[in-house]
Symmetry: D2
Subunit: 341 residues, 4 copies
Amino acid sequence: MTESLGVAVLGAGHMGADHIRRLDRVVSGARVAAVADPDTDRAKEAAAGIEGVSVHAEAEAALDAPGVGAVLIASPGPAHEAALLAAFARGLPVLCEKPMVPDPAGALRIVEAEVRLGRRLAQVGFMRRYDAGYLRLKAVLEEGRLGRTLMLHCVHRNAASPSFFTSEMLIEDSVAHEIDAARWLLGEELTAVTVLRPRASGGAPEGLADPQFVVFETAGGALVDVEVFVNCRAGYQVRCEAVGELGSVRIGDDQGPLVTVSGSAAAEVPQDYVVRFADAYDREVRAWVAAIRRGRVGGPSVWDGYAASVVAEAGVRSLRGGGRVTVEPAARPELYAGGAG
Amino acid sequence: MTESLGVAVLGAGHMGADHIRRLDRVVSGARVAAVADPDTDRAKEAAAGIEGVSVHAEAEAALDAPGVGAVLIASPGPAHEAALLAAFARGLPVLCEKPMVPDPAGALRIVEAEVRLGRRLAQVGFMRRYDAGYLRLKAVLEEGRLGRTLMLHCVHRNAASPSFFTSEMLIEDSVAHEIDAARWLLGEELTAVTVLRPRASGGAPEGLADPQFVVFETAGGALVDVEVFVNCRAGYQVRCEAVGELGSVRIGDDQGPLVTVSGSAAAEVPQDYVVRFADAYDREVRAWVAAIRRGRVGGPSVWDGYAASVVAEAGVRSLRGGGRVTVEPAARPELYAGGAG
Amino acid sequence: MTESLGVAVLGAGHMGADHIRRLDRVVSGARVAAVADPDTDRAKEAAAGIEGVSVHAEAEAALDAPGVGAVLIASPGPAHEAALLAAFARGLPVLCEKPMVPDPAGALRIVEAEVRLGRRLAQVGFMRRYDAGYLRLKAVLEEGRLGRTLMLHCVHRNAASPSFFTSEMLIEDSVAHEIDAARWLLGEELTAVTVLRPRASGGAPEGLADPQFVVFETAGGALVDVEVFVNCRAGYQVRCEAVGELGSVRIGDDQGPLVTVSGSAAAEVPQDYVVRFADAYDREVRAWVAAIRRGRVGGPSVWDGYAASVVAEAGVRSLRGGGRVTVEPAARPELYAGGAG
Amino acid sequence: MTESLGVAVLGAGHMGADHIRRLDRVVSGARVAAVADPDTDRAKEAAAGIEGVSVHAEAEAALDAPGVGAVLIASPGPAHEAALLAAFARGLPVLCEKPMVPDPAGALRIVEAEVRLGRRLAQVGFMRRYDAGYLRLKAVLEEGRLGRTLMLHCVHRNAASPSFFTSEMLIEDSVAHEIDAARWLLGEELTAVTVLRPRASGGAPEGLADPQFVVFETAGGALVDVEVFVNCRAGYQVRCEAVGELGSVRIGDDQGPLVTVSGSAAAEVPQDYVVRFADAYDREVRAWVAAIRRGRVGGPSVWDGYAASVVAEAGVRSLRGGGRVTVEPAARPELYAGGAG
């Protein structure tokens, strides 16, 4: 196939605009065919200079625009369910940014809709599965030389949170990444969660429970702990250490240039996740496009999106009520057989 | 004072013999005056070549030997209480290896006995307070540039545990170090503890709950988590990261020579805590001897020893019964005023 | 421009095949239009599965194939001069792998030919200028907070050299990268070179002067030292430390996952430069394609290719004859004004 | 022997006062018996609070003071020769700070004087041989798993030089350490030296050739390069990488606490060599005292001191005249047989 894949991008905010740039300039074999955003000025701006693109206020209009062969959903979470169903109705392959659908019931409706189609059409945007560090970490675990994995220690820190961030969003938005990464790395479902609240940082907005310390248990008895701290001030930091029976493996201390000056030897800590995971986003979208061009859909499934929702929702209950909350997911459909992640 | 300090060493096992060597050859201003061990052959062997030393089967005989001006207790834990009381009765300064007295009731009796004396005679052997890394970590926290400390993440791994090690000893023997270090670094008491049990490593003896993951809460709302894994196989590893409101600081990744060969760039991981903390032991005993020669007693007190016992005992209850256990210590006597640690 | 750029790739060996894969699958906006290799079976294999590509034995035939808008030269060095001149004759933009033209006289003919065209058509494949580490190192130097750069310390090690490698090729093929990187980082010409020969490694083929230690002097008095060791056995390693008046900056110790097992904490050392510089090659070709689509040519020029040749040739004379050899380049044409690199 | 060793310390400046403190408080089995300094006020101040010490203006008077069993020479270099000869005349074991005797002729007279005694009495203060990092580096080399050592890359940086520092002193005072370390690590004599002068740092005093880049050749064909930069501003840094036939090993990047704050992850760089090598000095003096108490003298010999002088003097000639200077030492007396270092 030499024809490039025409993609409709839904949402022209920060993430949508970045994906438009990526599809236009970075990813081979794709082009932006349509952009939809209720704010059409924003959509036009993001689409500026791209030949043959159409701009729409409505998502469905973009899906029906000429030349559209796939959909990338980067609109706000509440719009995801309708957009996914609209794509399914048209048989269009989808890449849906996370959280796929924030509430578990809605997420389950997506799973059921895809099951009715009888084949996978959607991939969920858990880009860490495409990060070079995570990929190498997983490769080390799969080599088997560390034995079974017993624990994951995770750190997820942002320099500062947006003003609209709530205590629940530390789980739903931030830890969601660790939920998916843990399921993927361990190949096991998370079955219980306990959210602990250390004293709040004076650097966080009044009333925000920040940081939090979250402990997950897996079906096989492994533990996953996550420090999430979205106003850590120092910079964006994502670390993961897997502890196995025979050793451990750690990622996230990768350093750029080491600068020695004025009494310290220092590496820069990036301020933004876009810097840290830029390559992962590129790899994710590239793999998605390449798969579609070969008639396939892969990567994290809507089941993975649902699983993250249901675990995050249990986490939110633990955050609110305290104590350990068990996770009670629906039965896993045959379409998504083959282990967690 | 030019006269060196004569020390009676109680216990000539692994740790006692090491302290005998240290007092004889490393520490300025001290000499080994007496050695006691029920196994007198072992005591003689440890004392071989030291001029003017007497060897005894009974601890009290060693305390009464000529030239003894201080006592170093390195006998097994159950013998500590009697030895401490005997030293107190004679007004001799003591350095007592940890755990000071394993059960909280016995530990409290020691606190009460010293309070009756009205002055401190004993120092407890929490040598991490003398480790260069911990000292620098504490200095960074005290500078204040990281704001208040919110969390400590700790890792404590041994290559393999001795055959007699029980699941409880992971708390009482190993995590005891983190209990003291956390109290000292944060200047706060630990008020609750939850012990979690990930699936046991196939590399640990049958029936041993290894690793464990322990979460402490402090009086001020900080969290301290500790991975303890005494059959991790890879080597001895002690790490500590303090997370403050404005940044974090980490120790324990110090590396010796970096050897690049055969496709890997590697630093050696020591197999033994004696290697890792050799300098801390030297500094501890040196400071103890120097203080006595100036007529003082400092360092970790018997209150610190008691506090570690009572927190560890709560941890053992959590390990056995599951769930969160609150720590309920006795009231802190005036003699030990001035904050935790 | 929505039409993708058709590229003729000359040479279908290891490097050529990798560029074909890159143009076909990784780089947005380009496609492989023609492949030439005297071994047409090899060319066919590298072009397999690419729609609309033509395969040729002769380079010029590929340049004349339909749809060709640019040329990527990845044939052996001796074929570069003719290929560059043929591209110039057709007004086609070129990306030429290094060494551009191995002998300075031939390299100068290319410079003169492009000067006669009156505009830049060619970019030389010094991909380190596109490596994230080098780019960040250069950014640190340009910020000015280290003051003027006084020295560069470089290490360039390969696990093993190909069987045809000669002592001269350590300079011409390997150190060529450091020659260009030094000119680019310092913005100065290299004016003298001294090649020192430590005792040869027993791990290198009999008669090969491996390792070598090369010291360059710049026009402004900076020093650049390079350890080149092409049979170092341990793996592929490229490091660079810049020492300024106020501090230093170092790249090349970037580590992937840190694996702690069996008494060592180790990061993998890659065996191959393709792994280490994969992203740099992608970025280089992407930038080249994007520039052409905007009607521009940038990146390292044929003057940079000539400069590397003339410095490397002086290095070879130093290797052979011993002692310090001064570099005597032709005058820099106006077309390439603006500092070294 | 229970009697502690009485030491006469010659020189009560920065280094002498530090050794007095060390002998008084840190090193087991020794005491300061006498202190000599032409500035007797300074001597008194350094000796304050030490029982039984006598203070002298003249070195010889200190050697003859009661209770003196050994001599530590920490006076300025020009006074070393007379002090060493005076100690030899009295049969007193000596630890002499480096440079032993700055000029090779004087150093050779010391060698000859000790040879006439027929036994070793003096140890030279090359403390790096007692640094944990160097010891481990040497251990790795001696294990043999890196094959023969082919090159050493060394960095020696001070934050700032004292006002009296001359260009020659970068070789005689600073690189002297690398000269001894290289001889010791490689077990080979240095046979030629080339001193290169990069452009001088604007941060160095006017007229000081700082930094310098020094290349040594060994008898067996190994190369040793040293960056010496005594006004590097950033802090005190000593690094050494040994490159062998099968791999490499590096020390000097050891880091204390890693502090992540305000966009950087940084380790402190010490400002002073006393911090970096504090443990090495302790170990050096402890080993010297312990050896004397067992009737022995070991460590770096006066031959090592002479060798450093003669190599440094060749370096100074290269610095002044430019070019490569060969080192032409006297014949090595039988008393110092057994390889360089």
